[in-house]
Amino acid sequence: MSVFSKLHSLGPRTRPLSSSEPTSQPQLKAPGLQITGARLSYGGQLLFDGLGLDLPAGSITALLGPSGVGKTSLLRLIAGLAHSAEGSVAGTDGAPVAGRIAYMAQQDLLLPWLRVRDNICLGTRVRGEAVTAGTREAADRLLDQVGLAGVAEARPSELSGGMRQRTALARTLMEDRPFVLMDEPFSSLDAITRLDLQDLAARLLAGRTVLLVTHDPLEALRLAHRVHVMAGRPARLDAPLEPPGEPPRPEDDTRLLSLQAELLHRLHAAWRESR
């Protein structure tokens, strides 16, 4: 049994809730995701064209690259948020992708007028579903899992940056989607808090198909099964690096450090190419 299915059974949905439920059968692993023919022009510039990206089932794929190369745009395209972008996004199980995606951004995006627990239940609320005692219990369990037991009644303004991002992670997990898109989720945190949250995220996201956009090579190498560098204009993806071992990998692993050097080298080349 994978961690995902374990999480799934712990997760908020003990009954089939909505049409967005992946399948009626219990899943052991999230399906993969295939992006093909992605195209986006911005301000007259072609950011990418005919771009393809495979997100292998149940694994974390990291995307690095210079600022402005189109990483976030690609992520937004997959999330269905980039309205001017073209491209096809398909799950390897053949079912539609819409409604099966959870999104976590660089800002925590906590709503200041809602308490922490209500923020975690936001998806349920905005879909017009009833927030039941079960929903609240599930939210509290997730809070416990992200190390925030006891703050369910607090307002976001009372939390530190790390706690806020933990709450955002809990909200992402509450959605319980097979596909998770993360856009520099930990970049605003201090180094130690960031390492903590990376470990937590790797543990809690195991089994899901994750795309992680990041500026931090070490973060990519610690968390991802595959690391892509996006470069050029229009942008392409290089052959992925596949760090050894299972995430989260220890930050002082010497193999990671040599891979980090390789990755920095690629990023530097990408940066020159994108100028």
């Binding site: 995606i101 959870a102 999104y103 709503l111 007028w113 998806g123 307002r155 303004s157």
Partner: protein, 252 residues
């Protein structure tokens, strides 16, 4: 402690300056009555002042409620109905070029000498600040919140209800604060133009009869009411929109 002492000191200082001006200029009572004369008037004519104050207060409060409801509704309408933005918004903006005071005689002509024309004045004067600030708040929702709600499968209406509306409440609250500050102007101007009751009417009457102390007394009652209205509303809004000051502090 200083919270209560400071207003008292300020008030005492202002009264002292006032009294000093009366003594230094030797102005007669009908030009500038001293604080003592005005206080005496407040005491002797308390019933009269209260009667007219009640009329003005009713006009102000009804105008405030009507203006706030209509203003908020207009902002929602303009935001939700896209074509309205192009058609209604310019009309709203241009309508503000007409001074509401210039409309006062017309309103009295149309709605009569009673409370109706004054409530309409207050409503008109309040409408725009409420509409403008709420509209602004509704438009400036943090885009990340909307993205998040969209990936969660929220409908347009759900986004309005759960994200944009609450996010715009601090802006609406500032609009309402401005409204509370200007509402008395609308009511009093209406009363000056034509009325048989209200503090504005009382002031005009007293002015014509050189009862300057009564004029001051009426002005004093109006000021007390306006200040009380502002602070009451401010307190209610602070309680209803508690995250506003927090977010300002954390950003500042």
């Amino acid at each position: 402690m200083t919270r209560f002492v400071r207003p008292v000191v300020i008030l005492a200082g202002l009264l002292a300056i006032w009294q000093a001006i009366v003594w230094l200029t030797g102005a007669p009572d009908y030009i500038l009555p001293g604080p003592a004369e005005v206080a005496a008037r407040l005491w002797s004519d308390a019933a009269l002042l209260l009667f007219h104050a009640a009329v003005t207060a009713t006009e102000i409060l009804l105008g405030l409620v009507l203006g706030a409801v209509l203003g908020a509704a207009a902002a929602l309408f303009v935001v939700q109905v896209r074509p309205a933005r192009q058609w209604v918004l310019p009309v709203l903006v241009v309508s503000q070029a007409i001074p509401v005071f210039a409309l006062a005689p017309l309103l009295v002509l149309w709605l009569g000498y009673g409370m109706g024309s004054k409530i309409a004045m207050a409503t008109l004067i309040i409408f725009f600040p409420v509409t403008a600030s709420f509209y602004d708040g509704l438009r400036r929702t943090e885009p990340g919140w909307l993205d998040l709600a969209q990936t969660m499968g929220a409908s347009r209406l759900a986004m309005l209800r759960h994200i944009r509306l609450p996010a715009a409440l601090p802006a609406l609250a500032s609009g309402l604060r401005v409204a509370a500050a200007v509402a008395p102007i609308g009511a009093v101007v209406g009363e000056w133009v034509g009325a048989a009751r209200g503090l504005g009417f009382l002031m005009l009457q007293a002015n014509a009869r050189l009862q300057t102390d009564l004029m001051f007394a009426a002005l004093f009652v109006l000021a007390i009411f306006a200040v009380a209205l502002y602070f009451t509303l401010d307190g209610v809004l602070r309680r209803a929109v508690p995250w506003q000051s927090e977010s300002l502090e954390s950003r500042g």
